[in-house]
Every structure is written in structure tokens, then in C-alpha cells.
């Protein structure tokens, strides 16, 4: 992990420090500052709109983390990740709506967190189910089998059957007060924001830790060279499945989290385009990098919001109005364009630029 150079005069005397995350005082200060901004400055000063953008970013990070894990770290290309988000969201919703929770659990606000956890496990196992073909096929063929996950799960099972449970029609709405974490009822952007922060930080820590430990190394080995990974004693099939499980698990958390923001879900929230979108996020952010997931999510959400604001300037004119009603298509076009531009000019993504910048300043001003 530590492929950046240490600044002059800094050296480690034991392995624990050498394997640590925040190796210098400067980095520690920087990270504490970042957390201060995230937990104090943004909630204090941001308006409702900015907060909702932040929540959108957090949701994208949670969704893209699983995709990053599969594509970027384990080399198993997936184009059906929205299915696992949907499984998480629907599991959590159904548990909240239909499960006879004991009253004290509802009162203490444990029901929703527990349902998130269950949703994560269900999505994890669902993901392994669609990861089964990875034991036999790889590359292009695996993409097609993961796409099957999307169509079987969302278009067939959820739209056709799960949505019909209870005869509510297509959309499930969550009555106010049911989404409760501990003493807090999650009913405003700021509360969703805090929940998002906790979940994103937790999931990022989990993935980052996994990547620097035995399991993650096995995944990366499978990505880089599956034959020599097997020769080095890695049960390739087992580790591919475990990657699918963890990716689905995080996807389940993402889906179950997002219902707190939507307060109503329908299959349209998890279209195939969203799976593609998540892959685009990691392509732009940088494949094989956790930083990349975060940068990619911020970039994509902010650029799209900026584009929307820009189009809204011209909503009075006739062509502007037309553009605004067709914004979804414009968004898709912008998404395609962004990927093309990144593939041509920065195929390693924003994370690579960030890495270069950090190294530059580590040596600055004496770069020799």
C-alpha cells in the first residue's frame, strides 16, 4: 500500500509503523482536518441541497466500493451490481414493513440497523450465487453472466414478484418513523448525511484492511495472474466467491442505506444503467484504488449536478426547456463522454493523478 515515498528524514524502526496507514505527523494532521470538515464544517454550513449532493456521493461510493473490489482488486468484471443494491434495499424494506419486530427493538431503534445487516448478508449470498460462473468463465463471458444478475434479479424477480408482496403496487413506501437508528429517526438530509458518513467510513476501512491482509492479497493475485496464484497455494475459486460475497455485502449495505433517503423504493431505482454507472465511476476514479472509488464518485456526482445547474440557467429559453426535460439523455451522453475522455487522456484515473501529485510534493522543492 505504501507505494508513496516517505519524506526526507522520516524512517521507521519497526514493522508496525511501516505497515501503518498514517505514517507521518503531517498525514495524521491532514486526516484529522478532513474528518473535522466532514463531521463539523459540512453539517454546520452546508445547505439542504449540498447535503443531498453529499448523500448522493456517499451512496455512489458505497455502491462503487463493491464494484471496485470485484473489478479493481479481484479482476472479476461485473455489470450487474445494481442487482445487489436492489436486493439489499428490498430485504431491508420488507424486514421493516413486514417483520414482526418486538416492540422494544422498534423503540430502541435497533430494527433498522439489524435489517441493514441482514440485507447485507442476503445480498452477499445472492452475489455469490451469480458469482458461481466465475469458477469456470472469465473475462468477457463473465460480464455476460453478471449482467444476468441484473435482469434476473431486478427485471424479473423484484419487478414481477417481490414488488407485489402485500399488494402495494410497484413502489414500497416507508411510513415516517420506521427508519430509526438508536434514538434518531432518520427523516432529514442531515441525519442521512451522518449515517452515510459512518457507513462510508466503515466500509472503506473494511475494504482497505482487507486489501492489505491475506484475503485481499489473494484477490489481487487472482487479478494479476490466476495461474500462479493457484500455484502459490490460493484456492482461486473460493477466493473469487469470497470477493463476490464481500462486494455483495457492501452493495447490500448501500441499498439498505439508500432507503433511508428515498423513503420509498421501486425497481426503477436500480436500473441496469446504474450498474454501468458504477463501473464508469471506478474507471474515471481509477481501477484498483480505494481513493479512485471516492474520487470517481465525487467527480461523477458533482459534474452531473453542475451540468444540471448549468442547463437550468437556460430553462426560460425554448431550447433550454427542451434540454431540461431531456436531461436524462444529456446525463447519459455526458457519462459516455467523460469515460471516453478519461480512457484517452488518463486511463489510470484520477487516483493516479492524485498519487503523482502527492509524490511530487513529497520531494518538492528538491525533486532531484
Amino acid at each position: 500500500m505504501s507505494t508513496t515515498w516517505l519524506p526526507c528524514g522520516v524512517y521507521h524502526q519497526d514493522y508496525i509503523h511501516d505497515q501503518g496507514w498514517w505514517q507521518t505527523r503531517f498525514i495524521k494532521t491532514k486526516m484529522i482536518l478532513l474528518f473535522a470538515i466532514l463531521f463539523i464544517v459540512i453539517p454546520e454550513f452546508a445547505d439542504a441541497y449540498s447535503l443531498s449532493v453529499c448523500n448522493q456521493i456517499g451512496y455512489t461510493i458505497l455502491g462503487a466500493l463493491g464494484v471496485q473490489l470485484l473489478i479493481g482488486f479481484c479482476g472479476q468484471i461485473t455489470l450487474g451490481h445494481a442487482a445487489f443494491l436492489a436486493v439489499g434495499a428490498y430485504t431491508s424494506t420488507l424486514l421493516i414493513l413486514d417483520f414482526p419486530w418486538p416492540k422494544f427493538m422498534m423503540d430502541l431503534g435497533i430494527a433498522y440497523p439489524v435489517s441493514i445487516l441482514i440485507a447485507a448478508f442476503v445480498a452477499g449470498f445472492w452475489s455469490v450465487l451469480f458469482g458461481l460462473p466465475s469458477a469456470r468463465v472469465k473475462g468477457f463471458y463473465l460480464i455476460l453472466t453478471t449482467m444476468a444478475a441484473q435482469f434476473i434479479t431486478v427485471n424479473f424477480l423484484i419487478t414481477g414478484y417481490v414488488s407485489q408482496i402485500g399488494g402495494r403496487g410497484q413502489a414500497f413506501s416507508l411510513p415516517p418513523g420506521t427508519i430509526k437508528v438508536g434514538p434518531w429517526i432518520i427523516d432529514s438530509d442531515i441525519k442521512v448525511y451522518f449515517m452515510m458518513l459512518v457507513l462510508v467510513i466503515g466500509c472503506v476501512i473494511i475494504v482497505a484492511n482487507l486489501i492489505r491482509s491475506r484475503v485481499g492479497r489473494a484477490w489481487i493475485a487472482i487479478r494479476d495472474n490466476d495461474i500462479s496464484a493457484e500455484v502459490m497455494g490460493i484456492n482461486v475459486v473460493k477466493y473469487k466467491f469470497s470477493a463476490f460475497f464481500v462486494a455483495g455485502f457492501i452493495g447490500g449495505i448501500a441499498g439498505a442505506f439508500w432507503i433511508s433517503n428515498l423513503a420509498a423504493i421501486s425497481p426503477e431505482h436500480f436500473p441496469w444503467f446504474w450498474s454501468l454507472w458504477l463501473v464508469g465511476v471506478i474507471l474515471i476514479g481509477g481501477v484498483g484504488s480505494i481513493h479512485g472509488t471516492i474520487f470517481g464518485s465525487i467527480f461523477m456526482v458533482v459534474v452531473m449536478e453542475a451540468l444540471q445547474l448549468f442547463v437550468m440557467q437556460f430553462v426560460d429559453t425554448s431550447w433550454g426547456e427542451k434540454l431540461f426535460t431531456d436531461f436524462l439523455f444529456l446525463k447519459e451522453a455526458a457519462f459516455g463522454l467523460a469515460i471516453c475522455v478519461f480512457m484517452i487522456f488518463e486511463p489510470k484515473g484520477i487516483a493516479y493523478r492524485w498519487w503523482q501529485m502527492k509524490n511530487y510534493f513529497n520531494l518538492w522543492p528538491f525533486s532531484y
Partner: protein, 273 residues
């Protein structure tokens, strides 16, 4: 080591018995017998396409032969997958380096420790207590035993894909050593190296074979006859799927068929010295 074949059964670490391997109608190996004794360097030589690499792939399980048996420590291992054979103590390097290009040197070697580590998904995701301790302990082993031996201290944090070929070969050897194998298959460890690197690599091979803490039995596939004849205890000669002789370097050098098939009439093998 003498050329006699009457060794104790306990001493035999690996035995290939009457191995037949076909790819379609092409016969890659026909009736090959190999006995590798504990502690020796057993070379396999032969012209290009003789089936040497196929033989190595059979030993560590990437191919399974249509006929014949493989015994490792008197245990039949025909049906075991490569990763299970790794757990038994069989490790290898590849002819074309098969390192994990996106990982650092350190991570490549750490990966070699995979079978000796225990942490799983839950342990890894929290990375405190047992997992962190385990990582530190193995790091110590890697630094003190492997990186020090192979003299790759300066590149330990570099991504392997960016290193020159000679160093990649060294990293690959380090990764194979991290497994602490009993049997190490070296598939052309010297191919593509310059003279100095060849000398280094030969030194490493001798060291892991003779040093008390390693004592690794090696199966060496190599074209550099000077090195093969110097290092090996026994040499096995393969010619298009057929075994010619399995004997000491002297026996092999003087065997008329080997000279005809591979070595040539002149002292070709001495040229690189």
C-alpha cells in the same frame, strides 16, 4: 552424491512413475520415470519442446497426466489441485516470469506466505489483534530470511511490473521461497539473465539447497549447461517425451545419445563460463 540407484525409499521426495501425457494426438511425455531424492538438485535438460515444462506442470498439478502416477513423500498426489500441492510443500517459479505485476515486491513475497497465514475475511477487515500480529511476524520472516538473502532491499516497495526482468526473476524466486517449500521447481531460472545475474541466481540456488535453515530440494530446468553440470547432483535428460538417461553429470556428459540429441559433439556447454 553417487550414481547408484539403490536408495532408501524414505529418501525419495518425489517420484514420477510411467507418466504419459498427450495433447490431442501429440505425445508430450511417454513413460517418464523420475526419482528426486531429498536434498538434491535434480536437473532436467533437453532440447526445446522436449516436454520439460510439461513435466514441471505435471509435478505441481497444472496438468494431469493421462497415465502414470505422481508420488510425493510416498503419497499419491495425482488428484490434488495445484493449491493443495502447494500446501504439501511444492513450490515453483515459471519460465516466463509470472509475478503479480500490480503488487509491490513485498506484497508478492507476502502472498507466498499465504498458506502459513490464517486470517480470514472477518479478521482481515478489522486488522487488529491476531491479524496485525500475524502480519508483523511474517513481515519479519520475509525481511530477515528472504529479502536479505536475495538482496532486494532497495526495491521492496516498488510495483513488480515496473522492475527489470532480472529482478522480476529474483522476486519470483523470493515468492516461491516464502512458501517454505520442501520441493522447489525452478523452470529456467537463468533464462534471459546477464552473466552477473546468472552468477547471483546460481549462488541463491546453491544457498537455498545447502543452507541449514532452507535445505530445499530443487528440480531445475535449465539450458545453461555450465551451470547445470556444476550445480546438479543428478541430471535427467529428456528428448521429445522420451527419457534418455537419469544419472550424474559425468554420466550424462559422456552418454553418446545425449551428446547426439542435445549437447552436441563439441564442448558447447562450456562456452558461457
Amino acid at each position: 552424491m553417487t550414481g547408484s540407484n539403490n536408495t532408501n525409499k524414505q529418501d525419495i521426495l518425489l517420484e514420477l512413475h510411467d507418466i504419459h501425457m498427450f495433447f490431442g494426438k501429440v505425445c508430450a511425455l511417454s513413460g517418464v520415470d523420475l526419482k528426486v531424492r531429498k536434498g538434491e538438485i535434480h536437473s532436467v535438460i533437453g532440447p526445446n519442446g522436449a516436454g520439460k515444462t510439461v513435466m514441471m506442470n505435471i509435478i505441481n498439478g497444472l496438468y494431469s497426466p493421462q497415465r502414470g502416477n505422481i508420488f510425493y513423500k510416498q503419497q499419491k498426489i495425482n488428484a490434488l489441485r495445484p493449491f493443495k500441492r502447494a500446501k504439501l510443500g511444492i513450490s515453483r517459479t515459471f519460465q516466463k516470469v509470472e509475478v503479480f505485476g500490480g503488487m509491490t515486491v513485498l506484497d508478492n513475497i507476502r502472498l507466498g506466505r499465504h498458506i502459513h497465514m490464517t486470517s480470514g475475511i472477518t479478521g482481515g477487515s478489522v486488522y487488529i489483534g491476531k491479524t496485525a500480529r500475524e502480519e508483523t511476524e511474517h513481515r519479519r520472516f520475509i525481511e530477515e530470511k528472504i529479502i536479505d538473502l536475495l538482496e532486494i532491499e532497495s526495491i521492496r516497495h516498488k510495483p513488480v511490473g515496473m522492475l527489470p526482468y532480472g529482478l522480476q526473476k529474483r522476486v519470483e524466486l523470493g515468492r516461491a521461497l516464502a512458501l517454505e517449500p520442501e520441493l522447489l521447481i525452478l523452470d529456467e531460472p537463468l533464462a534471459g539473465l546477464n552473466l552477473e545475474e546468472v552468477e547471483d541466481m546460481a549462488r541463491f540456488v546453491l544457498e537455498i539447497n545447502e543452507d541449514e535453515q532452507w535445505k530445499i530440494t530443487c528440480v531445475l530446468v535449465e539450458h545453461d549447461m555450465g551451470v547445470v553440470m556444476d550445480l546438479s547432483d543428478r541430471v535427467f535428460v529428456l528428448n521429445f517425451g522420451n527419457m534418455i538417461i537419469d544419472g550424474t553429470p559425468e554420466e550424462v556428459q559422456n552418454h553418446p545419445e545425449v551428446i547426439k540429441a542435445y549437447l552436441g559433439e563439441e564442448d558447447m556447454y562450456a562456452t558461457r563460463r
